[in-house]
């Protein structure tokens, strides 16, 4: 399956890009997508424990399954306000 990954804030800077196309196997979860992206951009690895994520512009759990064409967003700890 092909999913589109969006990276924000420091994750974007560490990866050097805001959008990543990503190929994962059937039955993959968002966590699998994260491992794929962090594998390609090792600078992201320290965020493994603190990252949160969204699927198609809604918050999701890392354990949620992904479908072909999904937009997955990875969010470092937030600091709005």
């Amino acid at each position: 399956m092909r999913v589109r990954v969006q990276l924000f804030a420091r994750l974007r800077e560490l990866a050097g890009r805001s959008d990543v196309e990503c190929e994962v196997g059937d039955g993959s979860t968002i966590a699998d997508v994260w491992r794929e992206v962090a594998g390609r951009h090792p600078g992201l690895a320290p965020y493994e424990a603190s990252v949160s994520c969204a699927r198609n512009e809604d918050f999701a759990r890392m354990s949620a399954p992904v479908a072909d064409g999904d937009a997955i967003a990875f969010l470092p700890p937030v600091s709005g306000g």
Binding site: Q6, F8, A9, R10, E13, S50, V51, S52, A54, E57, D58, F59, R61, A73, L75, P76, P77, V78, S79, G80, G81
Partner: protein, 163 residues
């Protein structure tokens, strides 16, 4: 004007407060109190002089998060109404990064709702602050956004209501 927004334009609390007041005035007991909160770009951060800030947001999700916060408030303070405008892009020292207005018939609720909103924004809104100093820059990273974390929500409510 929308009560919830993300914008690169300067924020104006007065218009927001007036709109909210009109809305609450027309129902129930009416509107007796409006509390507003302005988050301002501070001149220093941990002793370092700030040149400017940049705010970045995952806009569609940030707007949904504001809407979630407004619905949480409607559940806990049914007589009150809240408005949230958050700025993105480059901000100078002294500019407002966020404005919150809370209107209700009595003052206690207006303070509580306003405080609850800013606490929740800091917990779960997908927005990031990037600080630029005379030398160097730093992303600020606070809470891991987790909308299912009921302990965090309760903490925001406790801070707001002082339980």
């Amino acid at each position: 004007m929308s009560l919830l927004s993300i914008t690169s334009q300067p924020l104006h609390a007065g218009v927001l407060a007036a709109e909210l007041e009109r809305e609450v005035q027309g129902r129930g007991e009416g509107c007796g109190a409006v509390c507003t909160f302005l988050g301002i770009v501070r001149a220093t951060h941990k002793g370092r002089r700030v040149r400017y800030l940049e705010y970045e947001a995952f806009e569609p999700l940030a707007l949904k998060t504001f809407d979630r916060i407004a619905r949480e408030i409607a559940a806990d303070w049914p007589e009150a109404r809240v408005a949230i405008h958050h700025r993105v892009g480059r901000l100078a020292v002294g500019e407002a990064s966020v404005i919150i207005a809370a209107a209700s018939s009595h003052r206690a609720e207006s303070f509580q709702v306003c405080r609850y909103a800013i606490e929740r924004i800091k917990q779960i809104a997908p927005i990031w602050k990037h600080e630029f100093f005379a030398e160097g820059d730093a992303w600020v990273e606070g809470a891991t956004a987790d909308i299912e974390d009921e302990t965090a929500r309760r903490r925001a409510r406790d801070i707001a209501a002082c339980v």
